[in-house]
Point group: C2
Chain length 424, copies 2
């Protein structure tokens, strides 16, 4: 008996960077049993590519695809609408769907999976998180036998590009412009730099790894816009760099979760991603930490995940569908923090800061001041022992009123290695 492979007719919705990479791989590798039959795009005439074989039907009408004998729809349009409507209608018509749409899966994944199951169709989204890195199959297949208790990831390539360039000395605004020039950042970079993209991905990973359905809008997101080059200088003093970290952890019956810039030890695998790379660390009760790393974005790596999902369907593979349950975001991480001040120096500044922290029960861990700055514009950093963000914010509200501050203080959470964390 040889391996049985179904013959699948496949339609691509959206012929942008990822869609054209998917078509390219399907045309180059010709995976067994997979036939590209339709490509949908708005104003399709200007998209038509010579290298796509002529039997492929180009259309700007989704209904054509819905009415066709296509078995699998590849939704590579992105966003909640009309993508969501199309995915829903394709599933209702009994077609399987492969999507790279993290937002749709984060907000409506559970409902869409239910719909797919009720129709005997597949809904696969291996490309929705960390593109070419097989984190989702890794969680569904290879780590299903563990009890995963925490996830920490660099899930947004744009932020990683920006922060790893800033690590070399550049300022945020300049690197953002450079990233926009490369096509790594959108004209409006909000989704990326303010954390909403990583948040959607974190919600998907929490569902698969922690088996917890969490509400994306309950996860606190903090922008990387306020990070400046001087923060990297102080990070170095602490043996750290700065990365946008998306993290979620089971704590009792709840989940703690956040997205934002953090100080990360250079000894951590999360400090090693360069450029647009992604890294995901999954911590399990039995298997310990597993790290996945690679190209999390870009046309070709994302297309690999899409094509892999289609091949899975052709080969009769079925995702292990692990039950998750509605879970609240509860409580806060207790963390060390590093607070950067820029002051016009005068006696009593440290005393006043120390007092404001002490009032909230926060202990100072260390004070750093790099040489080479004058008294009139003096940056320095205070690190504090583990406390909740809200507790720190109360102290900072008082500290922020100090007249010696030349700009608002900026605090960064410190991601400690697992073994150094305090339990609470």
């Amino acid at each position: 008996m040889s391996v049985s492979v179904s013959n699948l007719k496949v339609a691509i919705l959206g012929f942008g960077t990822v869609g054209s990479s998917v078509a390219r791989i399907l045309c180059d590798l010709k995976p067994q049993g997979i036939e590209l039959t339709h490509i949908y795009n708005r104003n399709v005439a200007r998209k038509r590519a010579e290298w796509v074989p002529s039997p492929v039907h180009w259309t700007e009408d989704f209904e054509t695809i819905l009415a066709s004998d296509v078995n699998v729809v590849l939704e590579l349009v992105g966003g909640l609408d009309p993508a969501g409507t199309w995915v829903r209608r394709a599933l209702e018509a009994g077609k399987s769907v492969v999507t790279a749409n993290k937002k749709l899966i984060a907000f409506h994944g559970i409902e869409l999976e239910k719909l797919a199951r009720s129709k005997g169709a597949h809904l696969l989204y291996g490309a929705a998180v960390a593109g070419g890195i097989p984190v989702i199959p890794g969680l569904q297949q290879g780590l299903a036998g563990d009890q995963v208790t925490r996830i920490e990831g660099i899930l947004n390539g744009t932020c990683n590009f920006i922060l790893s360039k800033m690590e070399e000395g550049a300022e945020f605004a300049d690197v953002l412009r450079e990233a926009q020039g490369h096509g790594y950042a959108e004209a409006d970079p909000t989704e990326d730099v303010d954390g909403y993209d990583a948040r959607a991905k974190l919600v998907i990973l929490s569902r698969l790894a922690l088996r917890a359905d969490i509400d994306p809008e309950q996860i606190s997101c903090r922008s990387i816009r306020e990070v400046s080059a001087i923060d990297f200088e102080y990070a170095r003093e602490l043996g750290c760099t700065i990365r946008q970290i998306a993290r979620a952890e089971l704590r009792g019956g709840d989940v703690l979760a956040s997205v934002g810039p953090m100080l990360v030890s250079k000894a951590s695998p999360l400090a090693w991603s360069r450029g647009t790379e992604n890294t995901v660390l999954v911590g399990g009760r039995y298997g310990g930490d597993v790290v996945f790393s690679g190209h999390g974005a870009g046309g070709h790596p994302t297309a690999v995940a899409v094509v892999s999902d289609v091949i899975g369907i052709a080969h009769g593979s079925r995702a292990v569908d692990l039950p998750s349950r509605k879970t609240a975001i509860g409580g806060e991480f207790l963390l060390r923090h590093s607070i950067r001040f820029v002051v016009s120096d005068q006696p009593g500044i440290i005393a006043e800061i120390a007092l404001a922290l002490a009032e909230q029960g926060i202990n100072i861990h260390a004070i750093f001041q790099k040489p080479g700055y004058g008294k009139s514009n003096l940056p320095f950093v205070v690190t504090v022992e583990p406390c909740a963000v809200s507790t720190l914010q109360r102290a900072l509200a008082r500290i922020g009123k100090m007249t010696c501050l030349l700009e608002k203080q900026f605090d960064l959470q410190i991601l400690e290695p697992e073994e150094d964390r305090i339990s609470h």
Copy 2:
């Protein structure tokens, strides 16, 4: 419609470190649809564990399991025999098999997979390579849509423990004893330190990633026994460390493959594994490099992979079975090498070495000599530009006859970052 999960009766063959960890996870997590019914071990009486629920049937007779209504046999005995016979008989009886046995899968995997398919049974071996790190599901599911062209891995935890301890200054023999004390190394460490364990795993990864069936015995293995502490000192001068690297690469219609100690840049993810950790780098034509890292050995991590495979079967997941083809090991890697000499110093040594290398067309790249050694017992290192191992060996055969050598010279291959490699 809810998710359909089959009810599976499961037997564990071999109640050693991995077998007892598997039982522990099954008892703790009680995955839906999976019931542990039998445990086999030789002299089972001394193995019986109180914490295993009483309906589980303990036996020292494999025939009992074969005759039972067990659906899935977990083969955790290891080795080619009797494990191979039992796996074959279980499959012939229509039972599915999950195994952690890399040797069996490397040598007989294709034949056993054929047998499993012909019986409608599953044969899964996610635990056979890199234990708790989901490399095999990653390749079968998440990277099936790429064309993987190379694999580089740290696949043996024992060697990694030894070499990462030697990096801190210890000598091989002392660390081996320590590893044996921890249970990280066998009394006879041959399989690990001489490369045969990593070779079996490399054969499995080549089949899944490169789609190439290669004969394990054609892969050149080199022991790490000859590496000494001084080699780490010179490695540091080159910005490198030393690791046992298993690598395979498609070249034309053939595969190049080797296992042995190599100099690895500290900037490479392959240099980051500490202790018994494993790391696997998979290089794809479309998706670029993906890195997997974590605990590659040990009872619990390996058990996670075994339990994950059983859960996959219960959930009706089917491994994507990608066709591979018989492929020859052809040709040699062209690599830079570093050669360490220990001499009684006298004029003309470098000239003689340079001449012997030049006769084989090998260019010297650099010569390093660390201070602090006397002329009567002087170590130094010569690095050479890329050449084949066999070419270097011809030069070294002549150099080895030099009377000034106090011990046999020792050469290490240098694993260059992909972008610096020469094409040939």
